[in-house]
Symmetry: C2
Subunit: 153 residues, 2 copies
Amino acid sequence: MYRFKNCNQSIFIMDIKAEILSKLTECGVKPSPQRMAILQFLVMHPVHPTVEFIYNSLSPKMPTLSKTTVYNTLKLLSEHRAIQTLVIDEKNIRYDATTMVHAHFHCKNCGKVLDLHVKGLNGLKVKNHHVKVTDCQIYYKGLCEDCNNLEME
Amino acid sequence: MYRFKNCNQSIFIMDIKAEILSKLTECGVKPSPQRMAILQFLVMHPVHPTVEFIYNSLSPKMPTLSKTTVYNTLKLLSEHRAIQTLVIDEKNIRYDATTMVHAHFHCKNCGKVLDLHVKGLNGLKVKNHHVKVTDCQIYYKGLCEDCNNLEME
DNA sequence: GTACAAAATTATAACTATTCTTTATATCTA
DNA sequence: TAGATATAAAGAATAGTTATAATTTTGTAC
């Protein structure tokens, strides 16, 4: 864990950096400053960001970062199962540092993607034994709380 | 139903056309030749086709059909819940005439999208009551039987 | 420490699915 | 038939993503 009640900034940074580093090596990805930064960003911003969002957020502090690197790195991390690629929003691919199966919600109005608490996920069983399953996604669409309230008015 | 053991072609055609027409009016979509053709194509080709595939399949017999019309029609049908829009394959949106919730499988190698028999779908329960859910998708990814066999060799 | 090879990153160009805009066509009603 | 409205078509534009080629960084042998 990288959050402590009475931590100072440097300990905080040391800890998450160590966690990111071990996650990378664990997944067989050779670390680099870009890979560290992108994975750390995903871990610390669990909002299922788009490439655009990640790039815009990181480039001020990493001015040489290129969008291609963000794309390549996310693909690499996803192939090594360090992160999850979410195909939900037809406009943009989204990314999630949480790799365990959990449901998502996509707001058709504002485009946000949220984690969604859904019961019964563990009860799902694929009955076709000819296909080789590697990934699973459960998602819902509709209106998020904010957009639904707006619509009511 | 539009399939009979001993049907002749004309009865077959009459029946599916009637079914398509009633589906459209049921869903509040004003019929047109293009809308009929596109919905009928989806019903008769349950392969979760892309816009490209639908367009290429229909345009020989409907030479004036345009891709824009295919896009517009599929969006219209989807909004009226006459069909389902599948966001699974990050390359292309796919469409399905079956509107009830059922799981899909996307082959990462060949790109095919298949229906998948999954137990426990009815046991899923969204626990967040602040969002307004209108759609649900469950999908799996991996290798289909053919691609998996190829890989074994 | 230097030189070379391999890997990673960057910048740019290309591609392609989708949407937008405008124009044309068909349908409906008076 | 005329006018209004809805629908469809054609082509241009947009934007997310990928491919290419050049540059930089890293690792390793000497």
